[in-house]
Symmetry: C2
Subunit: 308 residues, 2 copies
Amino acid sequence: MVIKILGSAAGGGFPQWNCNCRNCSRFRQGRVRSSARTQTQIAFSPDNQTWFLVGASPDLRSQILCSRALSPRAGDTSSPIAGIFLPSAEVDAVMGLLHLREFQRFVVYATAAVQDMLKAENRIFQVLSRGNPPVEWRTLSSKGRVGCYFSDDPGASFVCDTIPLSNSFPDYVGFKFRGVEGTNEASVGFLFGIAGKSFLVAPSLSNVDGFRHTAALSADLMLIDGTFWSDDELRRTGRSNKTAREMGHLPLSGPGGLLARFPRDVPGRRILIHINNTNPILDEDSEEHRVVRDAGFEIAYDGLEIRL
Amino acid sequence: MVIKILGSAAGGGFPQWNCNCRNCSRFRQGRVRSSARTQTQIAFSPDNQTWFLVGASPDLRSQILCSRALSPRAGDTSSPIAGIFLPSAEVDAVMGLLHLREFQRFVVYATAAVQDMLKAENRIFQVLSRGNPPVEWRTLSSKGRVGCYFSDDPGASFVCDTIPLSNSFPDYVGFKFRGVEGTNEASVGFLFGIAGKSFLVAPSLSNVDGFRHTAALSADLMLIDGTFWSDDELRRTGRSNKTAREMGHLPLSGPGGLLARFPRDVPGRRILIHINNTNPILDEDSEEHRVVRDAGFEIAYDGLEIRL
């Protein structure tokens, strides 16, 4: 199995179009050792032929073009992308669906809550129905498993467990679709199991208890929420009045942060994704970058490829 | 005044993510003399300080990053982009608004019809209201003129005439918002007048009569619809069942096409924009490319900059 990190930044990317924070301004001036990052986008292929996406980033068009494996092969009339798993209805997880409006069939896997937020009040996504056959939506139960059999080769099939993570809703969602308290279907993680290997994707993690008692912790690879270093990061940089936790993200640092709370005995590779432009770990010479690496976490970058 | 063509392709860009047409497949194989193109996006600045956009392309984030002039200057806390003129509610003209969701005030200029299509049935655009102050929407009359005074320097102000072009609605728009027949407010062109110079932007032109009797034909620069070479181009390449005309675009070739119908005595520079991935003029060695150039039209490419 191949997993590609096509994008590794949080919403807005790095640098961000209207931001002059310490990271963004120093990056534009060439004064920081770091890499530009597009918005978080994962792609994986069980057989190196058919591809699946996790999330649909606002940068998806350019991310697909950067990867020859995701382009139509000679003689084919369509893309090798067969399905998309949506972890939430946040703009940076769904906007890319509009990049895929050019008359191709694929399957979108999402919880009922995510589908409601997206479709009921946003007709623009109906551009996905123009194809013949149209894009197909399949509903994920927030605690269920779905099997994906997409080719004649049974070895290429895989399973996906949906892990309910939080009831944090995007700002744009109307009251009517803010879902049932406690269902935690608004933001989910995915645990993919393929040929005896597994990997977790959880770009929004409001606490580590969410998957503490699941098989997630034994995954061979964990792609997890590295959005913010500190809880008040956006306030201090003047970008927002919200804390990391209010936005559904456990910060990396602090006594209750991800680094402190994360179980010590996790066997798999741990890679931080969805890194905000304000996060000091983006600076490869920073103390925060060193602390994260010393704690056993890798920091995702665009183009990182993993084979399991 | 500076005008930048940040993107020059039609919806989907060139190459297109799921397309293997003659242009896209040869481009991927390095077998055609042509340039990759992002989706049509114009930026202009009357004073080289404050910038305005025409359209909000799906590729807007990367297009802004490619142009240093559009990034925050040292010491500034926000982008120099002050306003956006929307020619239609088509996905490739509005999706980029979602790239600009990061808490900045700017002004969106659009007809009432375009605003209705966009806002009434698409809550996702409410992310633009999160800032303090929020993004401001100003309504353009389809035959009116608006004056833009954005700095203390009166020489930096400009006027914008809205030119009604067609009542062609995007596929996703519900029946209720398909507007009043004959108002032609669904798709408009813009004629900008600044310090004695003028330029026209019309990425969707269903006929040339639309601006035949206006000041548009005397513009110093015309950025006009070069989407399709022939009326049945999408049918022949298997991409759609619609003709160019059914999609609101006058094809370039044929007895009733743009090249045949365009007035001979136009004084200004004429540049084709919004070029579809299937259009043979993208191949710089093609007969169609030569015919267009011989007829006095330039073919836009990403990065083209014009000073008036």
